[in-house]
Subunit: 233 residues, 2 copies
């Protein structure tokens, strides 16, 4: 009995040690992948290089992660957290709910997004370049984390368009985010647009203010009636 | 003398034949690269596979093209021409210069862009994913072709904001294009937004109409005075 207990305890210790080793390896691999993705981009990520850097076998990576996609998403999750913090940090702690303040809030968010993308261009691009391989779908926890980001845009939209229902606001927040993303993404792509950062910030500001000023038109999103399509005119 | 002339003529024939062979190979390689890029995307493009498909040596590709980037740009040029034709085809042949018509025109362009991207998703994505390797810059002829695309957006902007100067309009056209691109690009990316095409079309329409309705704010792009930045508030 005494011996059995000892055995059980020692087996437990082994499991704990293995779990710890597993957790440590996991962190080391995410750190290494993060360094590569942040400096050289997604295309530079190779399982063999990661294994060499950490000093483990290539097969070990697949013991720790179900697939390379999972590892890439762990790095993406860190980027999303950084971005979320950058957006939150750009906004005043106490927010008025006036329409003017809501517009200023949207402009701040857009400029903070531009600043983040300009500062962390390589890892920010990786976030959008990555696609799950095969038929895999994005895990729920990652989708959830993206929602936090959109939720920051939903807040000022509530003050701007209080009559929009929750679902309408949720979708509009993504559309506004996407428009800002497009201006930032193509603006930072020198091959398409060659603007200074301050000129780009000016374009972005004017655009967000125009969208907010034309908010009456955004109500159409809520209505089911009326053709959205003009192509058949 | 007679013999010399004959020699010269035969040398000329050889050169013409080589030039023809060069031109034929070039077309064959662009065709093959286009098939790959349009069906499997940019990442699937391999010099070795192309050479095998055409039945030439890998080295031959580099005799015909300065580098793989040039080949990719030739395919990109075809995609740009298709897109340009799709946008032009969506607009009425005779255009009024009223403000209402200009807004409808912008909406038509945005919806045609969405339709093109939804139909030719893989090759359209390749257009934006491709980056010149090393320190190479984009050739002038490709930049010029991109300009045609933006020029289509400039036309309705002239009616919408006649007071904007040419340079201001040129830059604004790219910003509007970029905003539409962002909504389309993230909208078609299922991992971020899951909207039906008709819902996406509705979002896009409302957004373009809002931007047009808030056009007074777009004039700020022209002015040099006034901070575009709210972050230091």
């Amino acid at each position: 009995m005494f011996k059995k207990n000892l055995e059980r305890r020692s087996r437990k210790k082994v499991i704990v040690r293995q779990t710890n080793r597993h957790a440590v390896l996991r962190e080391q691999l995410i750190d290494a992948a993060e360094r590569t993705i942040a400096s050289k981009g997604l295309a530079a990520l190779r399982a063999r290089d990661l294994a060499r850097e950490i000093g483990c076998a290539v097969g070990t990576i697949y013991n720790v992660f179900d697939h390379i996609d999972e590892l890439v998403l762990c790095v993406g999750s860190r980027t999303l957290a950084m971005l979320d913090a950058a957006l939150a940090g750009a906004r005043p702690a106490v927010r008025e709910s006036s329409r003017t303040e809501a517009v200023d809030d949207l402009v701040r968010l857009a400029l903070a997004y531009l600043e983040f993308a300009a500062t962390h261009t390589v890892r920010w691009r990786a976030l959008f370049e990555h696609r799950m391989s095969g038929d895999r779908s994005l895990p729920e926890w990652f989708v959830e984390q993206q929602h936090w980001l959109f939720a920051q845009v939903e807040q000022p939209l509530t003050a701007l368009l209080p009559e929009l229902d929750r679902e309408g606001r949720r979708i509009l927040a993504r559309t506004v985010f996407s428009a800002v993303h497009g201006i930032v993404a193509l603006g930072l792509e020198e091959k398409l647009v060659s603007l200074s950062l301050s000129d780009l910030a000016r374009q972005l500001t004017a655009m967000v203010r125009a969208i907010a000023a034309g908010r009456e038109k955004l109500r159409a999103i809520d209505s089911v009636a009326g053709p959205a399509d003009l192509r058949r005119d």
